[in-house]
Symmetry: C2
Subunit: 491 residues, 2 copies
């Protein structure tokens, strides 16, 4: 089997060559829709929106095209075994956590993991030792954990079942994992890495090494985020003997649709083929677009690119060049406002926080797009006369998360943490919630990092931090009051 | 807002009209792929494979296009509130079960529910009273529960938190729910119905009424199965005061991707529009194709259509005409073999069991397709000279599931039921597993009905039944030995 094969996609083509008539689901039967405009977008994808027919294999018991495609992906990404995910990294994270621990088991977990890890902890009923992230002094952003903390936690909790990290963070800031992997392995437990933002890692000298290469045992990657799969297409990779693969497969089968999407599966296959056959070239082209943009931004007054020269901060050792973080150095425009202004000029950014806007390039980015983006920044600079304003060099991020204290005492997670009945909960204005225990998980989104867990006491600092975010228009996904004027707390 | 709007799809078109440049995920950036053939199928869908941009709303905190689309769907399907699902009915079933009970709570559950309900019971840590399904004497297929059993279970377990049914079954056989809904409501607990196979119910006089219309409180429907959404597109509907909607939304947010697929969301919106604006006509056309097929089959010797005239059996009161069950009345060909022969003639059936092949028509089926299918059956009849063989009228299904005994004692579900360590489990040949407790869940697939739960004792009858299925080539999804020559049991 050579790398330029795409077994799932090819099995779909073979099926289509039979001029098949469908007496199976899905109900659309590949037929046209009522409306010409809808037809334009959905006609072709419906041809490959298939079900588990002979020759098309079965994601939950692969022994044909899907098995082959997963084997090619394992080779490509450097795993021993790879599982295709149709429910995004969310599905992989939930499955990983529920596969590595039983109820009441202790896990050591980076505090600022993606909420899907936390949801996995709830489903599993885990007891969690949180490791605080480092805070980047330039941006106030939470990055990875310190290896000393890992060492300390492992020493204090030798019964821990795994270490779970999220690396790199949403902004492309990461830590080097090799030393940590070695440390964890001396305790004979696995290192689980949510590498959702790093599916392209390891394929180019100017891009950081992958978690698998660094020794992680189980790695989850969002192939749709930084490679070319359709949204919700992701992969879970495993190596070594520390993961119970049968149990893992069971959890995946439990948490993912029994009717997985073939377009998503085929797009994973094709995304793997892209990077497998032509990865270096494609990534180089994408990086040229990034470089072109940053060069052009030298001429635009007011805006500053964070880590523009990819200098390492003390809080992170690796940086994804495809993630470009920009702020208004004059302090005139919030990140949210910059995002809004860029949108009105046809340039759509990934996310904003009070200070920064995050621009995500990829291997598919083009130089012309970089030019359009730089022109948009120039226009905004002109519109707000940023050139006439004073640059506050090395501005301190006034909204930064204060370094989270090293607690090192287990927090019990359970589904009931979000199942409080009305008798146990009261809704209060946010400013009155200080010293109360939160009854909900609070996650400013993006980037989806939970800053309050149910049952956790709300400190004065946290209340003020949340108020600031709310005032600036952040969204609080899943919060009962999405504007967070109010919050539910335990009576 | 009129019914012919499709807010999600339209919001995507509005976005595309801005000639947007993407500095956000997904990484494909809507750009062409490397390969012309792949491009052909994925180019157009990538245009609408978006992320949570301004104007495109957020599935996990809807307040724009997605909210409007869900409101229209609620009106269309007769719910008070509707949630769009991107993880199939699986996601809806998992969320429903984990939202209605806490660990140790008692639920009354139809035994032959879809495995995703069972997975939900494991995640929730529920205690389950199983109600046996009726067995259709003509086919040996398991259908719905008896209302007397519901009554009895509710009387014996007044502390039960809900009744969970799966209706209709995979073959389109169903029971009337109204009496059961009333019975359940006298106990002030909700009726949850997995109506995965009945998204089209209630839109045509020749199609059964929907579970919502019959009084169910929470209903899950696979919009992709019998309507026109893309695979994994499903909906969860709620009405009444017995469901904690906040908790339900939290569970959905927990169990579904934080990057939901816009193509799937838009396809739900468009599927709703199809049925909302033109449902009666579309379903009538589809039903004409079914009728044409059954008429033509009158001339084909050997094959029999089950419930061809939709006569009610004692084991079911409603029947979906779009599901056509065919068997070889001469006993020459198994259902699996018929499926295989049909495939070789370009007609792809939904599934087979030892006796039957199941053909799924839908509102998108055409008369010409019915003709092609009937011609294929004629060809098979000729090839195997079925006309020269004796018709065994009213053949007894020798592989039928024996009526499951009414146990009425709670079975505890937990994630650990599939997390047995190697120390607790031994793998034995299937025929030696009689009277052992199964360490795995055994689900012949299709139709995905679990016939053995982990921890459950394996009876002689069950062993023989499984052996027969295995010999005939059924797949055992998720089983450690997919051919089921061996099975894992507790030591």
């Amino acid at each position: 089997m050579t790398y330029d094969k795409a077994p799932i996609f090819e099995s779909l083509l073979i099926h289509l060559n039979k001029a098949p008539v469908s007496f199976h689901v899905p109900g659309h039967k590949m037929e046209n829709m009522l409306d010409a405009r809808a037809n334009e977008f959905f006609k072709e994808i419906r041809q490959v929106d298939m079900t588990e027919l002979p020759g098309l294999d079965d994601l939950h018991a692969p022994n044909g095209a899907i098995k082959k495609a997963q084997e090619l992906a394992a080779k490509c990404f450097g795993a021993e075994e790879t599982y295709f995910l149709v429910g995004g990294s969310t599905a992989g994270n939930l499955a990983a956590v529920t596969a590595i621990c039983d109820r009441g088991d202790i896990l050591i977990v980076q505090r600022n993991v993606h909420k899907s890890i936390i949801h996995g902890l709830m489903l599993a009923g885990a007891k969690v030792i949180f490791l605080p992230p480092m805070i980047d002094p330039e941006t106030g952003l939470a990055t990875g954990v310190m290896s000393d903390h890992v060492k300390e936690a492992l020493k204090k909790y030798p019964q821990a079942k795994a270490l779970i990290l999220c690396n790199p963070n949403y902004y492309g800031m990461g830590i080097e994992l090799e030393r940590i992997a070695n440390e964890v392995h001396t305790h004979d437990i696995p290192l689980i890495v949510d590498e959702a933002h790093g599916a392209h890692y390891g394929f180019h000298p100017d891009i950081p090494a992958s978690a698998l290469r660094s020794g992680a045992d189980l790695v989850i990657q969002s192939t749709h985020k930084m490679l070319t799969a359709l949204t919700m297409g992701a992969m879970l990779h495993v190596q070594g003997r520390l993961i119970d693969r049968k149990l893992l497969a069971q959890r995946l089968s439990m948490l993912q649709s029994s009717s997985p999407s073939y377009p998503i599966l085929a797009s994973l296959d094709l995304a793997r083929r892209d990077i497998h056959t032509n990865g270096y070239h494609l990534l180089s082209e994408g990086l040229k677009a990034v470089e072109h943009f940053t060069d052009l931004m030298d001429e635009v007054e007011g805006f500053q690119i964070i880590a523009g020269k990819w200098s390492a901060s003390t809080a992170y050792q690796t940086k994804d060049r495809f993630k470009v973080l920009v702020k208004d150095g004059t302090g005139t425009l919030t990140g949210y406002r910059i995002l809004e202004e860029l949108s009105s000029l046809g340039c759509f950014a990934e996310m904003a926080d009070p200070i920064h806007v995050l621009l995500v390039f990829s291997l598919a980015s083009k130089k012309q797009e970089a030019e359009k983006l730089a022109a948009a920044f120039r226009q905004i600079s002109d519109n707000f006369a940023l050139n006439k304003k004073e640059l506050k060099l090395c501005i301190t991020n006034t909204y930064r998360i204060e370094a989270v204290p090293v607690l090192f005492s287990p927090i019990s997670f359970d589904l009931s943490l979000v199942g409080f009945t009305k008798d146990h909960v009261i809704t209060v204005p946010l400013h009155l919630a200080v010293n109360c225990r939160s009854a909900e998980m609070i996650i400013p989104y993006p980037p989806g990092i939970p800053v309050l867990y149910p049952g956790e006491t709300i400190s004065q600092d946290m209340m003020k931090y949340l108020q600031k975010l709310a005032n600036m228009g952040a969204k609080f996904q899943g919060a009962q009051d999405q504007a967070l004027a109010q919050i539910s707390v335990l009576k």
